[in-house]
């Protein structure tokens, strides 16, 4: 169970984005965060994955706080893949950051359709969609229990988007991965979400209506 317990957060000099916000995600669940832009969806994604520390409250995985060292059991994949890779590393080194075995890496490359010739390239030599596959592969290679997907397919065309999500959903099912995601496309969200959490109206974050 990934839990955010009564967290509060605000950027310095700005009003609090949430106060006493709680959220619980069980393995196998796919929770959509819904809110208008500027309501703090991305910030919440960063808090859940341990990139930001909440001002109050805590983030727990199975009752324990996120580890300070080692691979985090909650992995974040963001909207701008080019901002999350070292521009001076070749892609094979980027992928190796997660510390997975060779076989596991090869399996993930196959799953996400990463071609071997991309491995020797630098990040700027790949398109956004190609780079995003590496980011997802790297996140999965860290063997997370929960995956936070923040608008991971906005830069992709429909075919690539479908392909990526199919692969991701298959992998999530196989591993019983819990997922929290943000998407601006209602049709895509309806496809993926098992539950929707509205950040804007109900800031106490009680789980609400279930969508198919």
């Amino acid at each position: 169970m990934l839990e955010a317990r009564r967290i509060a957060f605000g950027y310095p000099g700005a009003p609090l984005l949430y106060r006493d916000f709680s959220l619980a995600v069980s393995p196998g669940e796919r929770v959509q965060l819904a809110a208008p832009s500027g309501a703090g969806k991305t910030t919440l994604a960063r808090i859940l994955a341990g990139y930001e520390r909440p001002r109050a409250g805590e983030v727990l995985v199975d009752g324990a706080p996120l580890p300070r060292r080692g691979a985090c059991p909650v992995q974040l994949v963001g909207q701008h893949p080019e901002m999350t890779v070292d521009p001076r590393q070749r892609m094979d080194a980027v992928l190796a950051e997660a510390g997975a075995t060779f076989e596991e890496e090869a399996r993930l490359r196959e799953l996400l359709g990463i071609q071997d010739r991309w491995l020797t390239r630098f990040p700027h030599e790949l398109s956004g969609g190609e780079l995003q596959r590496f980011c997802i592969a790297r996140a999965l290679a860290a063997r997370p229990r929960y995956l936070i997907a923040d608008e991971i397919s906005t830069m992709l065309d429909a075919v690539t988007q479908a392909r990526l999500w199919q692969a991701l959903l298959a992998e999530a099912d196989a591993r019983d991965l819990g997922m929290v995601f943000v998407s601006h496309s209602p049709a895509l969200s309806a496809r993926i979400a098992t539950r929707v959490v509205d950040l804007s109206g109900d800031r106490c974050g009680a789980p609400d209506a279930i969508r198919g």
């Binding site: 208008p36 832009s37 359709g113 071609q115 398109s127 956004g128 969609g129 190609e130 906005t154 830069m155 992709l156 065309d157 429909a158 075919v159 690539t160 988007q161 479908a162 392909r163 999500w165 199919q166 601006h184 496309s185 209602p186 049709a187 895509l188 309806a190 496809r191």
Partner: protein
């Protein structure tokens, strides 16, 4: 440079075509409200190809090994480093090939394709913006006139305007009002009159798109996403264009704002203008456009009415059908793995 591709076989073919009657011409079918003002298209692009001249790595490699072999035989005859530098082999890489596209008056044509597939190069070609190493071939008509690079450049900002992707295209140190108005032309009295005319036009546009007069005093970073979108549209509309090329106008906007931004473009089209909407978001494009040009690997594979996307049987090209099946509101499935294999997204 635009080079006419070996003198179009039938240069008058376009003019002599009966645009009103034939259901399909210039490789496209029509939407219900596609209009041919004065019997021609607002914009027609035929056989456009864009190539870039670049250094050929493989040839350079081959030459080096060959030279090394020669050097062993005749050590004195190896060309100087300077000569080798100047003689580095080049090749042409074609990025857009044989592209056909038409925009009618009063319609939005969405050019839909993956990011990185060369859509922006198409926009650049229509605006007459060419990189120094670009080779552009093909034929472009704007408002019934055949165009070359100079004519396209002359229309830029007047007949054809670009609506860029983000506020990053604005000068961060200049107030928005001044930027929209642009620099007045002429000398003394004429210059002052031009400045007044521009300010007048800017006020009119701001009023029409619901921007407060106070917005003119703001700097670009003070604009919200929706306001920025309208300011960019006003910039494009200053020269009273007939055609707007909107390059990815929606990323980074939430659905509500994106729909409103596109509604402004719709209003422009309904007023008789043409819009070429370049986007990778087919779901959004289908909500606002009249026709969709499916762009893939540097060319338009199908140009068809939005209505055709109601049913995959109406789509002619396998890739368009694949796109239809991949949409989340349909099957959300990748149907044909053979099509996508080896295609960088």
């Amino acid at each position: 440079m635009v080079e006419p591709r070996e003198a179009p076989a039938v240069p008058e073919a376009h003019e002599s075509l009966d645009h009103q009657r034939s259901a399909m011409h210039h490789h496209h079918s029509h939407a219900a409200d596609s209009r041919h003002g004065c019997g021609h298209h607002l914009l027609t692009v035929e056989d456009l190809s864009v190539a870039f001249r670049m250094y050929d790595e493989t040839a350079a490699e081959a030459a080096r090994t060959e030279k090394a072999g020669e050097a062993e035989e005749a050590p004195g005859r190896r060309p100087s480093a300077w000569r080798r530098y100047l003689g580095a082999p080049q090749r042409e890489v074609e990025v857009i090939h044989q592209l056909n596209l038409s925009v009618h008056e009063g319609e939005i044509v969405a050019v839909v394709g993956a990011s990185g597939s060369g859509k922006t190069l198409l926009a650049d070609a229509v605006l007459g913006l060419f990189e120094p190493n670009a080779l552009v071939r093909g034929r472009i008509w704007f408002d019934g006139e055949p165009m070359d690079a100079a004519a396209l450049a002359a229309e830029r900002g007047r007949g054809i305007a670009l609506m860029p992707q983000s506020v990053a295209s604005l000068d961060p140190l200049m107030r928005v009002g001044r930027q929209v108005e642009g620099a007045p032309r002429g000398r003394r009295a004429a210059r002052r009159a031009d400045a007044r005319r521009r300010a007048e036009r800017r006020r009119e546009l701001f009023a029409r798109y619901g921007l407060d007069e106070g917005v003119a005093r703001l700097f670009p970073h003070e604009l919200s996403g929706g306001m920025a979108r309208r300011v960019l549209l006003c910039c494009a509309l200053m020269g009273n264009p007939k055609l707007i090329v909107a390059d990815e106008p929606t990323p980074g906007l939430d659905l509500d704002l994106a729909v409103r931004a596109l509604a402004d473009l719709r209003a422009f089209a309904d007023g008789g203008g043409g819009v070429m909407l370049i986007t990778h978001d087919i779901e959004l494009a289908l909500t606002v456009a009249d026709r969709v040009a499916v762009f893939r690997d540097g060319t338009v594979v199908e140009e068809t009415a939005v209505a055709s996307f109601a049913d995959p049987a109406l789509l002619a090209h396998p890739f368009s059908r694949q796109l239809w099946h991949a949409l989340p509101e349909h099957d959300f499935a990748v149907t044909d793995t053979a099509v996508e294999r080896g295609v960088p997204c």
